[in-house]
């Protein structure tokens, strides 16, 4: 058993810094690189892509990043965990295999593929057997939208990845696996943690939560004394430096920018938090009120004391379904009276939409530069704004109505209030809304599948 394992964060979401994975595998010693690609809405986006092209549906950036780092990863024996498989993990594994062949690395690499999260083909049978898959937010049963469902995936935990690692996988590609599972799995594997070692599993889960958003734990998007965060251009992504007893430190490679501080790690701990006493994953329930943080040196935060409880008997399921259509358009109004002009344009536009008898589920107006993000709390600051962007969006079930709306913005340039500009991007495009439906399902009904294949 190892006495120390370093898990480095390479990507915090799909679209994160393309340089980060290479910098993590070359900037200093690490044992594992974990890459998180799946936000709540990402599965919906991937599903859209797979509908257009059955070969796609995974995070293509991952393949490019792997092609760049594979020679280093193979040479140094670094293992990779990534939920880049999206709704097509086998397609993703095939693309990585092809990349390995292009690099002359065929035969040096084993790829683990974790599936079994995909429930789409089983939905009707599950519903028929009385599993309502009620929306966790609204309580509505899934049958209400069954005919519009595009994908349904259970969130798997760390154990299928552990199984892949135990079977010799160097790169583990998964579908819908929890962000935290990508970090927890290497720790379970390296330290041989037991399935009921709840405090240890909770510790690995908290470690995963801290680094799952990449640089957001090492000085990025950190409000506390932000102007003094050093050298963000050269930011070092966070690394979990873990011990078998479940204690760990958050660190980053030497000679990188950013900052690892108790305040910054605390910001990341509270990110997307619900009830802190019950951070529920498929692997355990972690109690965030037991976490003790200590600055243990420059850019080094010690984490200890974490308590966990047994996992629940349910898995979260993310369903993506066709919701309708939306479009958002913008125009910019300049001083003097920028906000008043934008408000006037909004009134005119809404009157015209009403006269056209266009029905929408929602029309949403914002005044960017004035009240878009802070609403009436910012009203006093908004009066003398040098410019204000009118941003107006509509949403509804009728594509034709949304399309008609997109033709009502540009006319305002010449037939509405003055001092208007910023329309060079042209008419906004109506967009399909693929929405997210969270539900719970009995764990015993989901069987993860693990394959390890030679690349």
């Amino acid at each position: 058993m190892k006495n120390r394992v370093r898990v480095a964060a390479g990507q915090g979401f799909w679209g994160d810094w393309p340089e980060a994975p290479y910098r993590q595998v070359t900037g200093g010693p690490i044992d594992y690189l974990m890459m998180d690609y799946l936000a709540e809405v990402t599965m919906s986006i991937l599903q859209k892509q797979k509908l257009r092209d059955p070969e796609r549906g995974y995070a293509t950036d991952f393949v490019q990043q792997m092609e760049r780092i594979l020679p280093v990863v193979v040479k140094r024996g670094i293992k990779v965990t990534a939920n880049a498989g999206g709704v097509n993990p086998h397609g993703c594994a095939a693309a990585v295999t092809a990349a390995a062949r292009r690099l002359g690395l065929a035969g040096t690499l084993r790829i683990g593929v974790v599936t079994g999260d995909d429930l789409l083909g089983r939905l009707d049978a599950l519903i028929a057997r009385g599993h309502d898959l009620r929306n966790m937010d609204t309580g509505r049963p899934l049958r209400d939208i069954r005919d519009r469902v595009l994908s349904a995936n259970a969130y798997l935990g760390a154990w299928p990845l552990v199984s892949a690692l135990r079977n010799g996988a160097d790169v583990v590609i998964t579908g819908r696996v929890t962000d935290t599972g990508l970090t927890l799995a290497p720790l379970i594997h390296a330290f041989d943690w037991r399935e009921d070692a709840w405090d240890l599993l909770a510790a690995g889960t908290v470690a995963g939560h801290i680094i799952e958003c990449g640089a957001q734990a090492s000085g990025g998007n950190s409000l506390v004394d932000w102007p003094r965060v050093p050298d963000l251009a050269n930011v070092g992504y966070p690394i979990v430096d873990a011990r078998p007893d479940g204690t760990f430190a958050i660190v980053k490679h030497p000679r990188t920018g950013g900052r690892i501080s108790v305040a910054g790690v605390t910001e990341q701990l509270v990110y997307e938090m619900g009830d802190p006493r019950e951070y529920i994953t498929p692997d355990c329930v972690a109690d965030f009120t037991t976490i003790a943080l200590r600055q243990a040196g420059k850019d080094r935060v010690r984490v200890a004391g974490i308590k966990g409880r047994p996992a629940t008997d349910q898995l979260k399921v993310s369903v993506a379904y066709a919701y309708g259509y939306k479009a958002v358009g913008t125009l910019v109004y300049a001083w003097p009276d920028a906000l008043k002009k934008a408000q006037d344009a909004d009134r005119i536009l809404r009157r015209r939409l009403a006269d056209l008898k266009l029905a929408f589920e929602a029309i949403h107006t914002e005044f960017v530069g004035a009240t878009a993000t802070h609403g009436r709390l910012a009203a006093a600051d908004a009066r003398e704004a040098p410019e204000v962007q009118l941003r107006i969006g509509v949403r509804g079930p009728d594509r034709a109505a949304v399309d008609r709306f997109t033709r009502e913005l540009a006319p305002l340039i010449l037939n509405g209030p003055p001092s208007v500009t910023g329309f060079a991007a042209g008419r906004p495009k109506p967009e399909e809304i693929v929405a997210y439906w969270p539900a719970l399902l009995d764990k015993r009904l989901v069987e993860p599948k693990v394959e390890v294949i030679a690349a």
Partner: protein
């Protein structure tokens, strides 16, 4: 002494569906009890009145000198449905930090 919450705390916010969370962290340990006393769920709900549709829940994390607030119905449906610029509630954190706090006089 009246101060802005921004002067004694920092914060980060995120989303789960149509619910936004705002974690508020006291910069100094001595100010955490002030937050616990003054930053009630009711006060935060008043602060965001008209901006969110649902209720506000509060959780305490004394170990991190932090409070976590859940703002339900804050995101116009959330995720891909929302028409908001801040569809994921990322900057509701700083909107909360506009709040005014009555800081007890003490040697600082």
């Amino acid at each position: 002494m009246k101060v802005r919450l921004l002067d004694i705390a920092h914060a980060r916010s995120g989303d789960k569906g149509d619910t936004a969370n705002v974690g508020v962290i006291a910069r100094k340990a001595e100010d955490y009890p002030v937050l616990v006393r003054q930053l009630t769920a009711a006060r935060v709900a008043r602060h965001f009145r008209g901006m969110i549709k649902g209720n506000v829940e509060r959780f305490e994390l004394p170990n991190l000198r932090a409070l976590n607030f859940l703002l339900h119905g804050a995101l116009d449906g959330g995720g891909t449905i929302s028409l908001k610029t801040d569809a994921q509630g990322k900057v509701l954190s700083t909107a909360l930090l506009r709040l005014e706090i009555d800081l007890p006089r003490r040697k600082r």
